[in-house]
């Protein structure tokens, strides 16, 4: 009878730190040369970074912090922006408790950031506000411990953009109107990104489904729209939305520039989303459709319950890539005169008092963009993993 051979350990020379170094960095004379070259490059980069960070003067950022955050939003109304931030922090705290996972990590990150900012030498009121938000995070967490129905928190999340938009815009109950043309900085970037994503995604799905429709009129309209929009640069769409579009409006009707730019973004991104979703739709076998039909589900139910969930799950990475791209492309609206984060940065650089401090400004906004994009891609990776359960 055959016996199972004992497992033998790998040879000593191929393991351990020396083994790793030899295998990965110095396996041949070419690799050794590349390793030394890379070390030299890293050294120089470090020197350069040290040179910048040891002499950087962040006064240009701290002095203009309000501009960076909210642009020309009137200072006596700025509390409305602060309330919006607090609403989000509260909901995040509640979601941390209700869902855990990615929400918990976001909660921890935001809490940590708030504490860190509160430690910086801002004025006392700002620091109190930051600490207050840390408290609010905890209160949200506690509230969700008392009321555990996730449906309530989902509903509040869905409601919050409308509440915040109303609060920021005003025009009711003694709140003066703050026109969107006054919104700016990070606030405006977020408004662009959130509404752009929230509207372009469903529109893209509709276009993708329409492109596969058996009704020629719908199909041809969708194809025409998608191909037309994809054949034009984003900046052209933005110009068209901000300059051309008002000409076609009846007299006396005006749409604020920010709203027009958002419409341009949505129109543009939807076409790209549609093509991504279409790829997902095509990857689903005919058998799924037949099984659903054979069970008596109608076409709409089949689409909603069977086809779309699978199609969208398979295109999450590509769709999130599109969202990241939209988030960064919001910086283009500076060209059509909306002062979001990059636009504000551009105007801050021109200030007499801070001439020559453009590197600090650019590093600062780059860091903000990076955090936003990284949060999105991180969340998408987590989502993919979670939805990957039972993947074929």
């Amino acid at each position: 009878m055959a016996t199972v051979t004992d497992t033998i350990k790998p040879p000593r020379s191929s393991v351990g730190p020396t083994g790793w170094l030899r295998k990965n960095l110095f396996s041949s004379w070419l690799n050794s040369l590349l390793t030394i070259l890379a070390l030299w490059l890293i050294y120089n980069l470090m020197i350069g970074l040290w040179g910048f960070f040891s002499t950087a003067q962040w006064g240009v950022v701290t002095a203009n912090l309000r501009l960076f955050m909210a642009g020309r939003y009137p200072i006596e109304q700025i509390w409305r922006v602060e309330v919006c931030v607090s609403i989000l922090v509260f909901l995040l705290g509640a979601s941390w408790r209700a869902w855990g996972g990615i929400m918990g990590q976001m909660g921890m990150a935001v809490g940590g950031l708030l504490v860190l900012l509160a430690l910086l030498p801002f004025e006392t009121n700002s620091r109190l506000y930051l600490l207050g938000n840390v408290g609010l995070l905890a209160i949200g967490f506690g509230a969700a411990s008392l009321i555990r129905t996730r449906r309530l928190w989902t509903a509040l999340w869905l409601l919050s953009p409308f509440v915040m938009a109303a609060l920021l815009y005003g025009g009711f109950a003694d709140l003066p109107v703050v026109a969107t043309d006054l919104w700016g900085g990070l606030l405006l970037t977020f408004v662009f990104a959130v509404t752009g994503i929230a509207l372009s995604f469903p529109l893209g799905v509709l276009l993708a489904v329409g492109r596969q429709s058996s009704y020629p009129v719908i199909r041809w309209f969708c194809i025409l729209y998608i191909e037309l929009v994809r054949g034009v640069p984003l900046i052209t769409v933005l110009f068209a939305a901000t300059l051309l579009f008002p000409i076609f409006l009846p007299e006396g009707v005006t749409v604020e520039r920010v709203v027009r730019s958002i419409a341009g973004f949505v129109a543009f991104t939807a076409a790209y989303n549609a093509e991504i979703v279409r790829g997902g739709l095509q990857a689903i076998g005919r058998g799924q459709n037949e099984a659903a039909m054979a069970l008596g589900l109608n076409p709409l139910q089949t689409l909603w319950l069977i086809i779309l969930p699978q199609a969208i799950r398979s295109v999450i990475p590509a769709i999130v890539g599109q969202f990241v791209s939209l988030f960064k492309d919001t910086s283009l609206v500076a060209i059509v005169g909306a002062l979001e984060l990059a636009g504000i940065a551009n105007s801050v650089i021109q200030q007499q008092a801070f001439l020559g401090r453009q590197t600090e400004v650019i590093v600062f906004i780059a860091a903000i963009y990076f955090v936003g994009c990284y949060a999105m891609t991180y969340a998408s990776r987590r989502l993919e993993k979670r939805l990957g359960v039972g993947e074929r």
Binding site: G285, E290, A294, L295, G296, L297, P309, Q310, V389, G390
Partner: protein, 250 residues
């Protein structure tokens, strides 16, 4: 008794014709199935047998002739089609389970959305059906985590959840590893004994001999011969049938 149907005939097909392009797949098929009957439909590949059973729940449209299922004539009226589909269960060769839903959700989905049952009732029924097909412990898994035989049994449970009057099986064991065929056939046998009307496209001749009330031999889009299993096996009338049987019964 079903509305307007003479006797207890639940499926009536008269002169059913279908073309794929200019290819004549079904050439005037006439077939009547009584309530509770178990039919095994067999024949060479490309003979139109799968296409034929797929016309019964309108997964394939027939271009000439009449099909009446449970007293309702199949026409282009989408309401008729949906009504018939909810009375006719179907099991596919490649299972076609919904991979993004758990086994329990796969089975309870259609009753909830088509029959408008409350979730509790649908899930309870689903669990009972999973017990009936022998896999109650897999309810919370996803299709991708099950073996082929288990997936096909879930597919049978999913079709049964709609409480159909007729079950169509389109080569249910052809995609299975040999050792898993029996577990699926056992479920089908048990279903046949419970009085379900069944149309099975299959080459499992053991199943046909043991369970079928009638065997139908298809070739070239036509029914060549039909009869009781012992008659077909022991005394086939047509040369084509004899040849085909000699080729599959080695």
């Amino acid at each position: 008794m079903a509305q307007g149907t003479p006797g207890d005939e639940i499926i009536i097909c008269r002169d059913v014709n279908k073309w794929f392009g200019s290819f004549h797949v079904l050439r005037g098929v006439d077939l009547t199935v009584k309530k509770g009957e178990v039919l095994v439909i067999f024949g060479p590949s490309g003979s139109g047998k799968s296409t034929f059973i797929r016309t019964i729940n309108r997964l394939e449209e027939h271009q000439r002739g009449t099909i009446i299922v449970d007293g309702i004539e199949l026409s282009n009226d989408i309401r008729n089609i949906e009504a018939i589909r909810s009375e006719v269960g179907m099991v596919f060769q490649s299972f076609n389970l919904f991979p993004h839903l758990s086994v329990l959700d796969n089975v309870s989905l259609a009753p909830m959305w088509v029959r408008k049952w409350p979730r509790d009732k649908a899930e309870q029924t689903a669990r009972e059906l999973l017990k009936r097909v022998g896999i109650p412990e897999q309810a919370d898994k996803y299709p991708g985590q099950l073996s082929g035989g288990q997936q096909q049994r879930v597919a049978i449970a999913r079709a049964l959840a709609m409480q159909p009057k007729i079950m169509l099986f389109d080569e249910p064991t052809s995609a299975l590893d040999p050792e898993m065929i029996k577990e699926v056939l056992d479920v089908m046998t048990q279903l046949a004994k419970s009085g379900m009307t069944m149309l099975c496209v299959t080459h499992e001749m053991g199943f046909a001999r043991g369970v079928a009330d009638r065997m139908v031999f298809f070739d070239n889009g036509q029914i060549i011969e039909q009869g009781k299993p012992n008659q077909i096996f022991d005394n086939p009338q047509h040369d084509r049938t004899k040849l085909f049987l000699s080729q599959i019964l080695h």
